[in-house]
Amino acid sequence: MAVLIFLAAFIAASIPLSWLFRAGLARALPRHMAVVARDMPLTAAFGLWVIALYILVAFFAPLLAPFPERAVVGTQFQPWDSAHWLGTDRLGRDMLSRLIYGARNTVGIAFATTALAFIVGSLLGIWAALRGGWLDQVLSRFVDALMAIPSLIFSLLLLTIFGTTVMTLIFVIAAVDATRVYRIARSVAQGVVVMDYIEAARLRGEGNWYLIRREILPNALAPLVAEFGLRFCFVFLTISSLSFLGLGIQPPTADWGSMVRDNATLITFGDVTPLLPAGAIALLTVAVNFVVDWQLYRASGLKEQG
C-alpha cells in the first residue's frame, strides 16, 4: 500500500517537474533547439530530466554519497533513520551511498557495453549488407548460430572460460548483444543499399567506409536508436541474472543488478529494500525509452501532441 501511495506521489510530482524542465530548456537553449524543446511531449521531458539527474548523480557520486561505497558503517539491515536514510545492507553498508555509487558503476558499465555492442554489431551488419556475397553469408550464418544459443547460458559459458573481471563482463555481454544488433543493422542496411543514391555514390568512386558513414548509417539510424534504448536497459537485467547464477560484477563494487540479487530474499518478508535498486533500474528504463520514442516519432515525421 505504502508503495502505491509513494508511486502516486512520485507521478504527481514528476508532472510539474517535467513541465518546468521543459520550460527551462526552451528558455535556456539557443533558438533553433528551443523550438524542439518546446514541442517535446511531457513524457520526453520527464525522460530527459531523469537521465540528466542520473548523469549528475553518477558524475558527482563521491560528493553526494554520505558514506564511502564499500565501508561497513553499521550493523546488518539497519532501519531507515536520520543517519542512514535508506538503512544499511546485508553487510552493514549504507544503502543510499551504494545506490548513488551504483548509478556510476551500473550506468557506466551498461553504456560501455551497449556502445561496444552497437559499434561492432552495426558496423559488421552494414558492412555485410554492403559487400554481400560470401562474406555476408559466412557472417550471417555464424551470427544465426550464435543467436540460436540461449544468451544467458552462452554468457555463463564465456564468463566461466574467460573470468569475471569487469572488462570480460563488458566484452561478453557486448559480444552476445552485438549479434542482435548485427541482425537489425544488416536488415535495415539491405533496404538502403539498393537505393539509387548508393549506386550513384559508388559510381562516384566512394569507398566502403564513406558509404557506411555518410550514406547508410544516417538512413538506418532510427531503428538502431530504438534498439539501443532497450538493449541499454537489458544490460542491467543480464548483470542481475548473472549474479543470480553466481557470476556478475565483482564485489564490493556497488551495482544495481547485483544489489537487487543480494537483497532479493527480503521481499519474501515484505521488506521494500530490494525495490530500491530495482526501482532505480526501472525508472531509468522508462526514462530512456520515453526519450527514444520521442526521437523515433521525430524521425518518422509523425507529429505527436502532448
Partner: protein, 520 residues
C-alpha cells in the same frame, strides 16, 4: 554452474571431513520440542526441501557428494556402523566389531536383515559393497582411505579386514556415508540400483527434482523410521525454500540465508535448529608463496580480521568465533584458554613492519561455492584489513569449477571444513606436511614431530599437552585464517519433533532426520 550459485553447500568434501563431535555439547532445544519428547508418533508425510541436488546426480555411492544424495542415501540405506547423536559409534549392520591388534578388524554381520527387494543380506553383500570403493579401477571419492586395506574376506558370519599397519580408528571409516550396504551379484554391487536395507523404500526418483519413499515395513530397527512417507525435494533457490516452508509445502529446509533467520523466527511459523559443531570456515594461504611465506605477514592478516563481526554478519550469530583453530569445542583436547586474537589494526601494522613492509596488497579469491557467504566474508575482511594498511583485492571466482581451478591453485582463497571427531584426523588430513588436503601447503617441523608422537602417547595429560601445543602452533604459526565455527542451521515446521540431542557430526541430524524425527 549455477548452480549455480546458491549451489554448493557445506558437504562438498568427501570422506570424514565432517566427522563427529565426540561428546558434542548438548543442544538446547526450544520448549516446543521438549514437550514432544514422550513416545514418537507414527505416520505422516515428511517433506524436506534441500538447497542441493542436481539433475546430473547419479546413483553411484562412490560419487555421492551433496546433501541431497546424502539424505536420500540415509533414507534407503544402512551402513556397517552408525554415529549416534552423541558422536559415539554404534552398531548398525555390524552387530559388533573388534580388533585384537588394530591391524585386523572383525565385523560381525547382523542376521535376518532383508533388502527392499526381499533378498537376504549376506556377508558377501557387505564385502562387495566395501570393494566397490577399493582397487585399481575404483572411482570412489573415498578410494584413498582404502589404500591401507590389504584384504577383505568372509569368515562365517564375520567380515575380516586386514590393514597394512595398525590403525585404532579404522572402525570409524565404516560409518562413512559412501559405504552403503547394497545387494550384490557375483561379488559386485549394481551401483545404479536404489535397493537397500534402510528405513524407506524408493517409490520414485527424479534427479534434481524429487524422491518419494515409503516406510519399509520390514525395517529391522523397531524404534526408528516414524514417518509413513518421506519426500525429498531439491529447491536450490534460498527464497524458494523459505517460501515453501512458510506456505506449508515442506516441513524441513536447510541452508537458510543468515540475514533472514531473524525474520523467519518472527513469523512464528517455523522452528530454527542451530547445532554447534566443529565445522569451520577458513582462508588458507599458500605458505610456499611470498608474501605468505613470512609468518609476520600471516599474523598481520590474522589480526586484521574482525571475527565477531563475521559471526554476527555472515552467520547471523549462528556460530562462534574461532582462534584460527581447526580443533573445535566439541573435540576432547580443545585448547579453550589460548589467548584470543581480537581485531587489532595496530598489532597488524606492527607485524607488517616486522615483515619489513609499510603496506601490503594481496588478492583473495572467493566464491560462494567455498561456503555460503564467502564473498560477503571476503568483503568484510577487505574492509577491516584496509584499516590496518592491508589492501585485500577481492576476486570473486565462478562457483563453477571452484575446487578445480581456485582452491589449492591460487595462493589465498576461501574454503571450509566439516571438522573432525578426532584431533589426529583433522591434523593428519589438513595440516601434516604433504597431506592431500593441506591446502595451505604448510610444513612445520615441530608440529609434524608432535603429530607422530601424540598418536602413540598413552599418558592422557601428556597427550593433551601435545595436542594443545599443536593447536597453538597452527593458530600462531600456521598458514590458515579460521575466523569462525559455523553451526548447522535448519528450520522445521512447528509440528516436527526431534530427539533431545541432535547429532553434530553432519547436517540434518547426521543425515538421519528421516529415521530419527517424527510429527508431534
Amino acid at each position: 554452474m549455477t548452480d549455480r550459485s546458491h549451489h554448493t553447500g557445506m558437504t562438498r568434501r568427501g570422506l570424514l571431513k565432517g566427522a563427529t563431535a565426540l561428546g558434542a555439547a548438548g543442544l538446547i532445544l526450544p520448549a516446543s520440542y521438549r514437550k514432544a519428547q514422550a513416545a514418537p508418533n507414527k505416520g505422516g508425510t515428511f517433506r524436506i526441501g534441500l538447497g542441493h541436488g542436481n539433475s546430473t546426480d547419479g546413483y553411484d555411492p562412490g560419487l555421492w557428494d551433496n546433501l541431497y544424495a546424502q539424505v536420500f542415501a540415509a533414507a534407503r540405506h544402512n551402513q556397517l556402523i552408525e554415529v549416534d547423536a552423541d558422536g559415539q559409534l554404534i552398531p548398525e549392520i555390524a552387530e559388533s566389531w573388534e580388533s585384537p591388534d588394530g591391524q585386523t578388524w572383525i565385523f560381525r554381520i547382523r542376521q535376518g536383515v532383508t533388502f527392499h527387494s526381499g533378498k537376504n543380506l549376506t556377508v558377501e553383500d557387505v564385502i562387495a559393497s566395501l570393494n566397490h570403493h577399493r582397487g585399481e579401477d575404483a572411482t570412489s571419492a573415498i578410494k584413498q582411505f582404502f589404500d591401507p586395506v590389504q584384504d577383505i574376506r568372509a569368515d562365517g558370519q564375520n567380515v575380516v579386514v586386514t590393514l597394512d599397519a595398525p590403525n585404532g580408528d579404522f572402525a570409524y571409516l565404516m560409518s562413512d556415508y559412501h559405504l552403503a550396504i547394497m545387494p550384490s551379484a557375483d561379488g559386485r554391487i549394481d551401483p545404479s540400483s536404489t535397493d537397500g536395507c534402510g528405513p524407506y523404500i524408493v517409490e520414485s526418483y527424479e534427479p534434481g527434482v524429487q524422491a518419494s519413499l515409503n516406510r519399509n515395513p520390514d525395517y529391522w530397527k523397531s524404534d526408528r523410521a516414524h514417518f509413513d512417507r518421506v519426500e525429498i525435494l531439491a529447491i536450490l533457490d534460498s527464497a524458494a525454500r523459505l517460501n515453501a516452508l512458510m506456505t506449508g509445502q515442506v516441513e524441513l529446509i536447510d541452508q537458510i540465508d543468515p540475514a533472514t533467520i531473524g525474520m523467519l523466527e518472527a513469523r512464528g511459523v517455523a522452528n530454527i535448529l542451530s547445532i554447534p559443531g566443529n565445522a569451520h570456515y577458513v582462508f588458507p594461504m599458500d605458505a610456499r608463496a611470498a608474501p605468505f611465506s613470512d609468518n609476520n605477514v600471516r599474523l598481520a592478516l590474522k589480526y586484521a580480521i574482525d571475527r565477531q563481526q563475521m559471526v554476527d554478519t555472515i552467520l547471523g550469530g549462528h556460530g562462534a568465533v574461532s582462534n584460527d583453530n581447526p580443533i573445535g569445542p566439541a573435540n576432547r583436547y580443545f585448547y579453550a584458554d589460548m589467548e584470543p586474537k581480537s581485531f587489532d589494526p595496530d598489532r597488524a601494522r606492527f607485524y607488517l613492519r616486522e615483515a619489513g613492509m609499510d603496506s601490503l596488497t594481496v588478492d583473495l579469491h572467493v566464491a560462494d561455492a567455498a561456503f555460503s557467504g564467502a564473498v560477503d566474508a571476503g568483503a568484510l575482511f577487505a574492509e577491516t584489513a584496509a584499516q590496518a594498511g592491508i589492501n585485500i583485492n577481492l576476486i570473486r571466482e565462478p562457483n563453477d569449477g571452484y575446487w578445480d581451478n581456485v582452491w589449492m591453485q591460487k595462493p589465498f582463497v576461501a574454503s571450509y571444513w566439516g571438522g573432525r571427531a578426532v584431533e589426529d584426523h583433522m591434523f593428519t588430513t589438513g595440516y601434516a606436511a604433504g597431506a592431500t588436503w593441506n591446502d595451505s601447503f604448510w610444513s612445520h617441523d615441530r608440529f609434524n614431530e608432535l603429530l607422530v608422537q601424540a598418536r602413540s602417547e598413552v599418558d592422557e595429560d601428556l597427550r593433551r599437552e601435545m595436542y594443545q601445543e599443536m593447536q597453538r602452533i597452527v593458530s600462531f604459526e600456521g598458514s590458515v585464517i579460521i575466523p569462525m565455527n559455523n553451526n548447522f542451521v535448519m528450520a522445521t515446521a512447528t509440528n516436527v519433533a526431534t530427539p533431545e540431542q541432535i547429532s553434530a557430526n553432519w547436517n540434518l541430524d547426521g543425515f538421519r532426520c528421516v529415521e530419527r524425527w517424527w510429527f508431534a
